[in-house]
C-alpha cells in the first residue's frame, strides 16, 4: 500500500524499465552477460518508487458488477498482479478468479487499438477527431427519439455524464441490459420486502435454504457471499450453519450444500409453498394460500420425496434465524416472479425479514446510483429496432448480438439501425456489426467511480484509477469519450474540464463534505481518496424492509409435459465465463469448470440414468434442438442434474472476441426461445424445452479429472465427517 498520496502527474512518470525488464527471462541465458541488456533508468522518480519493489495502488475491479475493491501491484511501470483491498466491506481483501484475470483483460493481445470505421466489410483506421466529427454529423439531423443507447450496468459519474449527454439531445432511450441479472428476483423483492436488493446476512443465518441461488459461484456478489459463507460454516455461536440447495442442476453452491435436492424444473415455488404448509406456522391468508399444497401433491409435482420436505421444515423450525434465497434457477420461467414471490414468502413466514434480510444502505446521490441491467430492456430495444424506430444506436459494455436469445432475431433487427457506434475493448460479435468502433481503455488504464449494485455493509463509492499508463496510445477512457461528445452539444458547460479525470476530481471535490472530506483541503482529500480507493459514506437505508408479507395471490402452474421437446434446457452460468464476456481470458479458459473439470469447450450435462436410456456415453456429440434452433456439443454424464433436464454452460461459442475465445464450444443463447416472465417481461432463461439426439460422432472430453473420474478409489483423499462427531467451536 502506498502511504503518501500521489497525483496523476507523478504517476505518469513511472516509465522506463517496462520496455526492457519484460524480456522473457528463462533458463535460456545460463551465463553471465556484459553489456547486452539495456536498463532504462527513470528520468525522475517519486521517492516511493524503487526498482525491484512493487507499489500497490488501489482501484476497483471491473470484471463484474459486484464492485470489489482491488489493489494492483505495480513494478517498473507495469501492473503485475491484482489483489483484493482489505478495506473494502465487499471483498475484504479477497478476489475471485475473474478478478485475478483482470490483468489479462488489460494485457490482452486482441484489444482494439485504433478507432475503426466500416467501409463495406472491413474496418478502416481513422483518427479520433474524424470519429467525433462522424458522430456529430450523424446526430445532426436525427431527433432524440431516434437515438438509442444500449449499455451494461453503469453507475457513478459515468452514469451522470451519460445521462447528461443523452438529455442534451432529449433522448430517453437508454437501455440498460445485463444478460444474467437477477431482475425478476429484484422485482419480487420490491414487492415482498419493499427494496429491490436487500442485504442478505448469510453469516447470521443458521440455515440457508437456497432455491438455485448460486451465491458462491456467479450470483450477485460471490466474493462477498463466499466470505459470509465461511463464517456461516464456522457457525453462529458454535452452531454450524446448514446449507440446503434446491435446484434442478447442481451449481457450485449446490456442490457445497449439506443437502442438495434436485427439483423438477419450474416447480420451486410449489415446493416453497409446500414447505410453508409443512411448517404449519403461517396464519391468515398465507395459510389459506398454502392449504392445498400438502406433502403428497407437492412431492408429486416437484419430485421431492415427502420425507425431505418434513426434514427441511423441521430443521427450519428448530434453527432460527434462517435465510431463504431465490436465485436464477427459480426465476427463469414464465411464472418466475410467482416462484420468487412464493420463495420470499418463506422468509416472512420464518420471520427472517429484518434479521437475515435487511435493507441495504444507499448512496445519498441518486443520480450516481447504479442503473441495474435487465433483459426486458433488450426486448424493448429489440422491438424498437424491429419497428425501425432508431436511426443511431450506441452500444457500451454489452455484447447483445452474442447474448440475445436466438428467438429474438436481434442480429437482424440490429442491422435496421442506420448508424451503429460500439465502444469496445475487443472486436466482439457486436463490434463486428458496428459502423464505428471506438477503442476503450482497459479497466486498469481508466478513471472512474462505481457504486456497487449490492451494498455489502455501509454505503460506499469505489474509485477506479489507472494502474499503469496506456498500453496502446490510441485507446480512450469511456469517460473521456463521453466528455468529448457532450462538449459537442454543450461546449460552454463542460469546457472547464480538459479531461474526464479533471471532471471527476472537480465533481468529487464539490461534494467533499458529503463524501466525508469536511475540513480537508482539496489536495489532501483527493490524494486520500485515491490512496484509499474507497469512499465510505454515512448513507443509511432510506427505506426499511416490509415486516409483513406482501401480495399472496400466487398462481403456480404445475410443470407441463411436452412430448415433442421432452427436456428442459438449463443454460448454466459458468463460474468463470459468466455470459461470455470473459471467454477471451486464457486463464479462465484453462481453469477447469469446478464440477466437470472440462476446459476450453462446451458440454451437455445429462444425468447418467437418462444417458443410459438414450445409450449416450461421455464424449458423444449430441445435437440439442429447441424450437428456435439447435447446437451440437459433447455429452458429459453428470449425476447432479434432474433427469428431465439437460444443461449447457453459457459463455462459449464465440465467433469473434479474439484468439482465446473464437471457435471454442457452442453458444446456447442461440437456441433460447424468446419466452418472457409474465409479470416483469424479463427473459425466461430456463423456459426453453429441447430434444436431444446422437449424431454418432465421438470425442475425448478435454477435462482435468482422470479416467478414474472423480472417485476416491480405496484411499481417503478428500475426507468427510458428519456433524455428530465434530465440534467446530473449539477450532482455531
Amino acid at each position: 500500500m502506498m502511504e503518501n498520496g500521489f497525483n496523476r502527474r507523478d504517476f505518469l512518470k513511472v516509465l522506463g524499465w517496462g520496455g526492457t525488464a519484460v524480456a522473457l527471462s528463462g533458463c535460456g541465458n545460463t551465463s553471465v552477460e556484459d553489456g547486452r541488456e539495456t536498463v532504462n533508468s527513470y528520468v525522475e522518480a517519486a521517492d516511493y518508487v524503487i526498482p525491484g519493489i512493487g507499489v500497490y495502488f488501489n482501484s476497483t475491479c471491473a470484471q463484474c458488477d459486484a464492485g470489489c475493491s482491488i489493489m494492483g501491484k505495480v513494478r517498473e511501470g507495469r501492473v503485475l498482479k491484482l489483489e483484493g483491498n482489505p478495506d473494502s466491506a465487499i471483498n475484504r481483501g479477497k478476489t475471485c478468479g475473474l478478478g485475478q484475470a483482470g490483468v489479462q483483460h488489460h494485457y490482452n493481445p486482441d484489444r482494439v487499438r485504433e478507432p475503426l470505421q466500416r467501409k463495406g466489410e472491413i474496418g478502416v483506421t481513422i483518427t479520433w477527431e474524424k470519429a467525433y466529427e462522424l458522430i456529430a454529423e450523424k446526430l445532426k439531423d436525427v431527433s432524440g427519439e431516434e437515438i438509442a443507447f444500449l449499455s451494461g450496468g453503469v453507475s457513478g459519474h459515468l452514469k451522470v455524464l451519460l445521462d447528461n449527454y443523452l438529455a442534451s439531445f432529449g433522448c430517453r432511450n437508454h437501455f440498460v441490459y445485463e444478460a444474467l441479472a437477477p431482475a425478476v428476483v429484484r422485482a419480487a423483492n420490491k414487492k415482498s420486502y419493499g427494496v429491490e436488493m436487500p442485504r442478505y446476512n448469510i453469516n447470521k443465518a443458521k440455515v440457508v435454504l437456497s432455491f438455485g441461488a448460486d451465491f458462491l459461484g456467479a450470483w450477485v456478489s460471490p466474493v462477498h457471499f463466499s466470505q459470509q459463507y465461511a463464517q456461516f460454516r464456522k457457525g453462529v455461536d458454535g452452531e454450524r450453519g446448514v446449507l440446503i440447495q434446491i435446484e434442478p442442476k447442481m451449481t457450485l453452491t449446490g456442490a457445497n450444500a449439506d443437502r442438495w435436492i434436485p427439483v423438477r424444473p419450474g416447480t420451486e415455488g410449489v415446493l416453497a409453498l409446500g414447505i410453508i404448509n409443512a411448517l404449519g406456522t403461517a396464519g391468515g391468508d398465507i395459510a389459506a394460500l398454502v392449504k392445498d399444497y400438502d406433502k403428497v401433491r407437492v412431492s408429486k409435482e416437484t419430485g421431492v420425496p415427502p420425507g425431505h420436505i418434513d426434514k427441511i421444515a423441521a430443521l427450519l423450525k428448530l434453527r432460527s434465524p434462517s435465510l431463504v434465497l431465490a436465485g436464477s434457477a427459480a426465476e427463469g420461467y414464465a411464472h418466475g416472479s410467482q416462484n420468487a414471490a412464493a420463495i420470499n414468502l418463506l422468509n416472512h413466514v420464518l420471520g427472517n425479514v429484518g434479521k437475515t434480510v435487511e435493507a441495504a444502505a444507499e448512496v445519498p446521490f441518486p443520480q450516481m446510483a447504479p442503473a441495474r441491467g435487465n433483459t426486458a430492456a433488450l426486448k424493448a430495444l429489440n422491438d424498437g429496432l424491429a419497428a425501425g424506430k432508431y436511426k443511431v444506436l450506441f452500444n457500451y459494455a454489452a455484447n447483445p448480438i452474442f447474448t440475445a436469445p436466438g428467438g429474438m432475431k436481434f442480429k437482424d433487427n440490429w442491422a435496421k439501425a442506420d448508424f451503429k457506434v460500439v465502444f469496445a475493448h475487443y472486436m466482439d460479435e457486436t463490434a463486428l456489426q458496428a459502423d464505428l468502433v471506438l477503442p476503450l481503455d482497459s479497466a486498469l488504464e481508466d478513471w472512474g467511480t462505481h457504486v456497487p449494485e449490492y451494498m455489502a455493509d455501509g454505503a460506499q463509492i469505489n474509485i477506479q484509477q489507472p494502474l499503469m499508463e496506456r498500453l496502446h496510445a490510441n485507446t480512450r477512457g469511456m469517460g473521456d469519450i463521453l466528455l468529448a461528445l457532450i462538449k459537442q452539444r454543450r461546449p460552454e458547460d463542460y469546457k472547464s474540464y480538459e479531461d474526464y479525470y479533471g471532471y471527476l476530481r472537480a465533481a468529487m471535490l464539490q461534494n467533499k463534505a458529503a463524501l466525508g472530506g469536511g475540513g480537508m483541503d482539496d489536495d489532501t482529500f483527493w490524494s486520500e481518496t485515491l490512496s484509499k480507493g474507497i469512499v465510505k459514506l454515512a448513507g443509511a437505508a432510506t427505506t426499511a424492509v416490509h415486516s409483513k408479507a406482501g401480495a399472496t395471490d400466487l398462481t403456480l402452474p404445475a410443470a407441463t409435459q411436452d412430448a415433442q421437446y421432452p427436456l428442459q434446457l438449463i443454460p448454466a452460468v459458468n463460474v468463470s465465463l459468466r455470459d461470455g464476456r470473459h471467454a477471451n481470458l486464457p486463464w479462465l479458459q484453462e481453469s477447469p469448470d469446478p464440477l466437470t473439470t472440462i476446459v476450453w469447450d462446451s458440454w451437455v450435462e445429462i444425468h447418467p440414468k437418462k444417458a443410459l436410456e438414450m445409450d449416450i456415453t461421455e464424449g458423444d456429440i449430441i445435437e440439442v434442438t429447441s424450437r428456435t434452433g439447435s447446437v451440437k456439443a459433447q455429452a458429459y454424464l453428470f449425476p447432479g442434474i434432474h433427469p428431465d433436464a439437460i444443461s449447457i454452460p453459457l459463455g462459449q461459442g464465440h465467433e469473434a472476441l479474439g484468439r482465446y475465445a473464437k471457435g471454442y464450444g457452442v453458444n446456447p443463447f442461440q437456441i433460447l426461445d424468446a419466452v418472457f416472465d409474465k409479470e416483469t417481461g424479463e427473459l425466461a432463461m430456463h423456459e426453453t424445452r429441447v430434444k436431444i439426439s446422437k449424431t454418432g460422432q465421438r470425442v475425448i472430453v478435454v477435462k482435468d479429472e482422470s479416467a478414474a473420474g472423480a472417485k476416491q478409489i480405496r484411499k481417503k483423499i478428500a475426507g468427510r465427517m458428519s456433524t455428530d462427531n465434530v465440534d467446530l467451536s473449539k477450532e482455531v
Binding site: 522506463g16 553471465v32 553489456g35 547486452r36 539495456t38 519493489i53
Partner: protein
C-alpha cells in the same frame, strides 16, 4: 605374474590423485579475477572522478549516494537522471564538457538514458543487493567501497564500470562457504546461506 597390471594400476592412481587435486583447485580458481569485456555506455561515466580518492582527483562520493536503491532493494537499479542533474546544474565548471552536454540533452528531452547492464547475472539468479549491504556495511561496518568491491571490483579506479569477477556460481559459493563475523563487535561467525532457493528463482 601380474606384472602386466602395473601400468594400469599406475594410471589409475594418477587419475584419482589428479582428479581430487583438480577438485581442490576449484577453490582458488573461483576468487581469481576474470575481466569482463569493455562495455560502451551512452555516456562514458567516469566513476574514478566521482568515487576516486582525492589524491587521484576523485570526489570520494559514497557509492550509495548515487546507487541509493542498492541498500533498499534487491535490484541496485540505476540512479534517475534527476540525481545527476541535481548536482550538475550547479557545477558550472564542467557544464560545457561533451559528456555533461549529452546528459543535459537527455534531461531536457526527458528521455531515460539507455545504460547498458554490466553485471548481468543469468535470468534464473536472484542477487540480493540489500542483504549483502546490510550484512557487510551496516552490521560489520566494513568500508562501503570494499563491500561493493567484493563483487564489483575496484570501481573507483575505472571510468566506465567493467566486470572484474567471474560471478560464476562456484565463485559465489566459495564466499558463502567462508565463516564471516556476524557484526563488528562480536566474534560470532556465520556462513552465507547455502540452500538453492536463496539465489535461484
Amino acid at each position: 605374474m601380474f606384472r602386466f597390471l602395473r601400468l594400469s594400476v599406475l594410471f589409475a592412481v594418477l587419475f584419482v590423485s589428479a582428479g581430487s587435486h583438480a577438485a581442490d583447485a576449484s577453490q582458488p580458481l573461483s576468487t581469481a579475477d576474470d575481466l569482463g569485456p569493455q562495455v560502451d555506455q551512452p555516456i562514458e561515466f567516469p566513476h574514478d572522478r566521482h568515487a576516486g580518492d582525492a589524491a587521484q582527483g576523485g570526489m570520494q562520493i559514497n557509492c550509495m549516494y548515487c546507487h541509493t536503491y542498492a541498500r533498499r532493494s534487491m535490484t541496485a537499479g540505476i540512479p534517475p537522471t534527476q540525481k545527476c542533474i541535481g548536482c550538475h546544474q550547479s557545477i558550472e565548471s564542467v557544464r560545457e564538457t561533451p559528456r555533461i552536454k549529452k546528459l543535459f540533452e537527455y534531461w531536457e528531452a526527458k528521455k531515460p538514458i539507455p545504460w547498458k547492464k554490466v553485471h548481468d547475472l543469468p535470468d534464473f539468479v536472484r542477487f540480493h543487493h540489500e542483504r549483502h549491504i546490510q550484512r557487510f556495511y551496516f552490521q560489520q561496518g566494513k568500508p562501503v567501497q570494499e563491500v561493493c568491491g567484493y563483487c564489483h571490483g575496484n570501481v573507483k579506479t575505472m571510468t566506465v564500470a567493467r566486470r572484474t569477477k567471474s560471478l560464476s556460481m562456484g565463485w559465489c559459493v566459495s564466499c558463502h562457504e567462508k565463516q564471516h563475523p556476524v557484526d563488528a563487535a562480536s566474534t560470532k561467525t556465520a556462513q552465507g546461506p547455502n540452500d538453492c532457493w536463496q539465489c535461484h528463482k
